[in-house]
Amino acid sequence: MWKDLLLRLCALFFRRQMDEELKEELQFHLEMQERKNRGRDLDPAKAKRQARLQFGSLVSAAEECREERGISFVEILVKDARFALRMLRKSPGFTAVAVVTLVVAIGANAVVFGVLNGLVLRPLNVPEAESLYGTEYGVDTGFQSYPNYLDLRDRNRSFVDLAAFNFAFVGLDTGKDPSRASGFATSGNYFDVLRIQPYLGRFFHSTDEHGPNSTPYLVLSYAYWHSRFQDDRGVVGRTVQLNKHPFTIVGVAPPGFRGTLLFVSADFFMPIVNQEQVNGEKLLEARGNTHGIFETFGHLKPGVTPAQAVADVKAVGAYLEKTYPKEFGQKSFSLGHVGLTSFDHAVRAFMAGLMLLAGLILLAACANLGSLFAARAADRSREVALRLALGSSPMRILRQLLTEAVLISLAGGAAGLLGSVALLRRLSIWQPFPGAPIHVPVEPDARVYGVALVLALVSGFLFGIVPVRQVLRTDPYQIIKSGSMGAVGRRITVRDLLLAVQIAICAVLVTSSMVAVRGLVRSLHGNFGFEPRKAMLVSTNLTTAGYSADKVPTMQKRLIAAMETIPGAERVGLVNDYPPLVYGAGSRASVFKEETRDLRPSNVAAMPYRYDISPEYFDAAGTALLAGRDFTWYDDKNAPAVAIVNQEFAGKIFGSEANAVGRYYRMQDGARVQVVGVVENGKYLSVTEEQQPAMFLPFLQSPSSQAYLVVRSTRNPQQLVAAIRSQLRELDAGLPADIDTWNNLLDVVLFPSRVATVSLGVLGAMGAMLSITGIFGMAAYSVSKRLKELGIRMALGAQRKEVLQAALGRAFKLLAFGSAAGLLLGILAGRVLALIVYQATPRDPLVLAGVVVAMLLLGLLATWIPAQRALSINPMILLREE
């Protein structure tokens, strides 16, 4: 096979030499024959003649030899390619339009596929990633407790081994400059499960774990080692302080490995058994908590299917639910892709939607080019007819046309791929949020190149094949007789159909991008339930500065008091963990109605988001208190448990807002909590969520060292940064803090919708562009074909309006028809869009009107030049020409 190909290639490149050799060989034969003939007493001239006669046709023998060598296929290809290049050079406008269209279409597909490849198909840079699965717990997050993980690890029968990790945000002190770092607290078997080897030193293993806080080891990521330790190979064995606890650096992870979470790059890896030292919480024993583990994962055993594994982990879940009915929430296990669990489905749905739209773009481009090629083939019907008449086979002509199409598609594909590779490279080094270790790993690989190539070839064949029927039907006699004027058909041609299809596809794209933009605008102007403008957020983790237990609330009180002294700081509040809509973080709790005695998961009345807040937090956040009272500094551990709930919570548990104040409900542990106030509804985890219940508890009743201060100012909040810093330094110089505006942090949460909107917007713009070129091509072609007819009409006294109608009526009819079909399809596709974009409803009258107007404008724009040309016809000149 390979040898054959090689021979063919040699045959191609050494064709001339082989021809020479063949000639020499045959010549030698003739001479030998001639010699022999002379031996039979023939005179030289006669001997030579006789030899030629005996041999037969030299040329056809040589041709047959070439045939036998099988070089003809490649040779024809090269000839076709040369001819195609000549033809394309003769019509640079056509070539440019076709190539640019393909660059856009194939580029878009390559980019979308590159992202799909990076995020979904090739999620992690570890060996045998395809058998690596994560377990998902519950519906919205992967969070679960450490004891649950241990049970899952020991009781499942599907995984070779199960590893787990959690986030660890720490202050890392090398002795010189304490600064914040973010990494993973991992189970001891983490690296062994991943089957990766250290770049430097060693990893820690499960054998290193000997109970809580027993393993003060640290593994650095390659990137962090590079940036923070300047590639110092002597760092192995050195001791650094993590939240004031000594940890020994034992190794450095390999360069390509950035942790097991797709969008987050970890600075370091520490054993999860030491998590208490950095989080300040005893997470290893509490079964009921939901933030001991972020994700668990492992390789499936050989022969175990994902479906079997799901059944297996569900069985473990059922066991846990039965054994620990109080602590184990009403959630179930399933499997997901490592690094993507908890947003696996969203990412997949989004990418699938995007890929679909990109595919539509390519289809529209093919329809566009198909009609261009059909028009071109019609223009060349004379040439084709001539060639047919001269004895060329239709197959040969088709091959020639296809070669032309594939050449264009390869050129467009190559350029589109180059552009998309550049874009993907940019994307993968892009850090959308300077403060957060978030990145989008979409480095293009061989698969992306392959897909782009295949797409280019397939689309080349697709649009190249459009004029086939037309060519095969060609009757050379008729065409040469009637000249280039050929009958202008009145019936619906393939070209018309293609154009209508293309316009319909473009209308779908335009519809979807409009829907996306509308959705985003709505979500941005929606009510968040707080006022992010003019609010600064100060993130502190007192554990990183060595505070513990009772010292935490005292210090937090002092922090609030200190902030209040800053001129321009109007109100100051505090919220434990994260404020609403920051980093998409939030925790839910199960609550029960007061009369419920049996606190089993099936009796849960609601699962509200829980926020622990200081008095005046609502004022600082700008959340309206609708009924009842705010918390006071007396709502502490000695006071009865109280709560403030949002409208949704009040309605769900107590039937109405008015009813809520003064009533009681129960927490998971059975404690009765009295509702003292009701606040307005808001958004908590993401702007796209349905309205969720929320409860606010006094932070003094459940202190946490990780908290955000909310500082509302009367001035531009940026001006407060310096003052806030100096106040912090005065209180404790060793306390690291991140200061940012609430609006900036909202960007993180809005990021997905923004990305969605931008991508849909870009695809919509591409669709619009394609429909312009399509309509333009069709209108320009029909005007040029009918110049003579239009000239006669004008000479006979047709008015401008009639000329335009004759020239462009058809294009407009197609536009109207295609747009209507596209709009209809767009509305039908609304369900798909709703998956991708928040509040997407294509039934929105504004969107409908927008699409119609947009398509009309596109049509006008695209027919403008052909219309001008039709109107500027000078009948006299035109008629004299022929």
Partner: protein
């Protein structure tokens, strides 16, 4: 002599066999092959020289024979063909087939 297609097919297959057989004696150039076939068959079989070379190239393409440039007995550059291992095997197979075929035909003719 305008050969009927069926006869041409037969000749083609036969020609391949004859060429392979002729080359068993050692490397030789195209003209020598045709001469040798005539010689052995005592001038009964006339090789159509126009189809000899395509056949040689076909056999070379199938890797049954290989070609090298060498110097002919008269001091001229010529293309010498020789059997490859695969060609030897093919020759055995085809000879056996041919034997069976001719025997069968002879038997049929005898019966009739």
């Amino acid at each position: 002599m305008a050969p009927a297609p069926s006869r041409l097919d037969l000749l083609q297959g036969t020609l391949d066999l004859l060429i392979l057989r002729a080359l068993r004696a050692g490397a030789m150039h195209g003209w020598a092959v045709s001469e040798r076939i005539q010689q052995i068959s005592e001038d009964v079989l006339q090789v159509n020289q126009g189809s000899l070379y395509p056949a040689l190239h076909r056999l070379e393409h199938r890797a049954w024979i290989k070609a090298e440039w060498g110097i002919s007995e008269l001091g001229r550059r010529a293309r010498f063909y020789s059997l490859t291992a695969a060609g030897r095997k093919q020759l055995e197979i085809e000879s056996a087939n041919w034997g069976k075929l001719s025997e069968a035909i002879a038997r049929v003719l005898r019966m009739a």
